[in-house]
């Protein structure tokens, strides 16, 4: 029997507390002179984008570590981080679009960073889909870690290609104001605390998500060990010669 999976409660408390602090700071910080109150969207958008990249980097590290050590612990880290990363990528994209609509007048522009992030989103969506196709922990771990490595190594190339594509030949289609210029120390604090708070949330979510992977593996183990009725069991051999 494997040891019981430890269930921790502190991550929930930590998530609630750090979000409360981040939220309060982003509300009391002053409005930007150019962007007005819209700058507040940056205090959630920037941390989400930062976590999107960080989470996928952790997936890469976990995948490499699994391929080298064959220890399933690393695969669990890679898997948990990929799911949380996909969530934060989706969030960063949505928040970016919500910010762009009132600022630039459109939901989407073919900006290099936007396009690249969107492609990255699909790469890891594929990673998650791949993990769903098999239950066997070992096969799943080695297959998805190869994809984790391939994705992470291809991503810089995707990034270069998209950046060059936007910068070489095509003139920008919109005149865009730059991101927020930090004028007030409170604004910088709100941004930094936002990044720290979201990172803490990421760590707490990781703890819970890895816990869930352990529980799922445990559940699968138990399910496979239970003896199930087999078709034909009710049929008994005819008693020959019992006359």
């Amino acid at each position: 029997m494997e040891p019981q999976v430890r269930i921790r409660r502190w991550p929930w408390v930590v998530i609630a507390l750090s979000l409360a602090v981040a939220f309060t700071l982003s509300m009391i910080s002053p409005a930007d002179s150019v962007q007005g109150d819209l700058v507040r969207i940056m205090y959630v958008h920037v941390p989400s984008a930062w976590l999107a990249y960080t989470a996928f980097f952790v997936t890469f590290v976990g995948s490499v570590a699994y391929l080298v050590t064959k220890n399933l612990k690393w695969d669990r880290i890679a898997a948990a981080s990929a799911e949380i990363g996909v969530y934060f990528t989706g969030l960063a994209l949505s928040l970016g679009m919500i910010w762009a609509k009132p600022t630039w007048g459109v939901w989407w522009t073919w900006d290099a960073r936007l396009t690249f992030t969107f492609i990255m989103f699909f790469v890891y969506l594929g990673y998650l889909a791949l993990r769903r196709t098999t239950d066997d922990p070992i096969a799943r771990a080695s297959r998805s870690s190869v994809l984790g490595v391939l994705g992470a190594i291809q991503i810089p190339l995707v990034h270069f290609s998209v950046v060059w594509w936007r910068t070489l030949h095509q003139p920008p289609s919109l005149i865009k104001p730059d991101g927020p210029a930090i004028q007030d120390p409170l604004m910088l604090t709100a941004l930094i605390i936002g990044v720290i708070a979201f990172t803490v949330v990421y760590v707490a979510l990781m703890v819970k998500r890895i816990e869930l992977i352990h529980l799922d593996e445990r559940r699968l183990q138990i399910e496979q060990s239970i003896e199930r009725p087999v078709a034909g069991e009710a049929v008994t051999a005819p008693e020959l010669g019992a006359t």
Binding site: A139, S142, R143, V162
Partner: protein
């Protein structure tokens, strides 16, 4: 018993080409389907000759990209577990298997590119400048797509739902190839430097080739 890395590669390529000669699903299904796709686009967006000349090259590369995925899908559905076990028992080096499958996919893709390319030139009146560079681009795209497809097929197989997953995995990772190919074409037309795009495609081919060869054994073991 087959010995020697390149002999094994050769054997795998021969097997794939033989299967294609017998079944012909690349030649008789995928290529006509690609040509039909080129025919459908003007029906949907209009037949203005200037517009078609402008979008033709881009459409051609998108179709090469999307149909390149089909080669990988059929690859993934063919490489079944019993077949892999048989290859392993015969002593086939997994890396040689990977290289061989890639080479045969690349050959199919080059044929696809050539035939569909001729259709595209005819239908869209595409102009050709710098034929040497274009040939190199076709070769790099075929190699890159074949590598990505073969590696992805190896990653997903042994799982029944895996085959359906191949397009989702290959498409985003092939973005550098798509951009490299379209920008090289534009660069040749407009007389810009294209070296950085060619090098980018070379980098993709090298990176995926290295990962594919290095991970061939761990992937086969599970």
């Amino acid at each position: 018993m087959i010995t020697g890395f390149w002999h094994q590669v050769r054997a795998v390529v021969d097997r794939d080409l033989l299967r294609e000669r017998r079944q012909g699903d690349m030649l008789w299904i995928t290529i006509p389907f690609g040509a039909i796709a080129l025919l459908l686009i003007p029906l949907a967006i209009g037949t203005d000759a200037v517009l078609l000349r402008e979008i033709g090259p881009g459409m051609y590369w998108v179709i090469v990209m999307l149909f390149g995925v089909l080669v990988a899908v059929s690859r993934a559905s063919r490489e079944t577990l019993p077949q892999q076990d048989a290859s392993a028992l015969l002593g086939l080096d997994p890396a040689a298997g990977f290289v061989g499958r890639t080479v045969s996919s690349a050959i199919f893709l080059l044929i696809f590119e050539a035939v569909v390319g001729i259709v595209a030139i005819g239908l869209y009146d595409i102009s050709i400048i710098g034929i040497g560079w274009l040939a190199l681009t076709l070769l790099l795209v075929a190699a890159g797509l074949a590598l990505l497809g073969t590696l992805t097929a190896a990653i997903v197989n042994s799982s029944s739902a895996g085959t359906a997953l191949v397009p989702l995995l290959v498409a985003p990772l092939s973005v550098p190839l798509l951009l490299g190919a379209t920008q090289t074409y534009d660069g040749l037309q407009g007389g810009y430097g294209i070296l950085s795009w060619v090098l980018l495609m070379v980098a993709v081919v090298l990176v995926v080739a290295i990962i594919g060869v290095l991970t061939a054994r761990p992937l086969q073991e599970t």
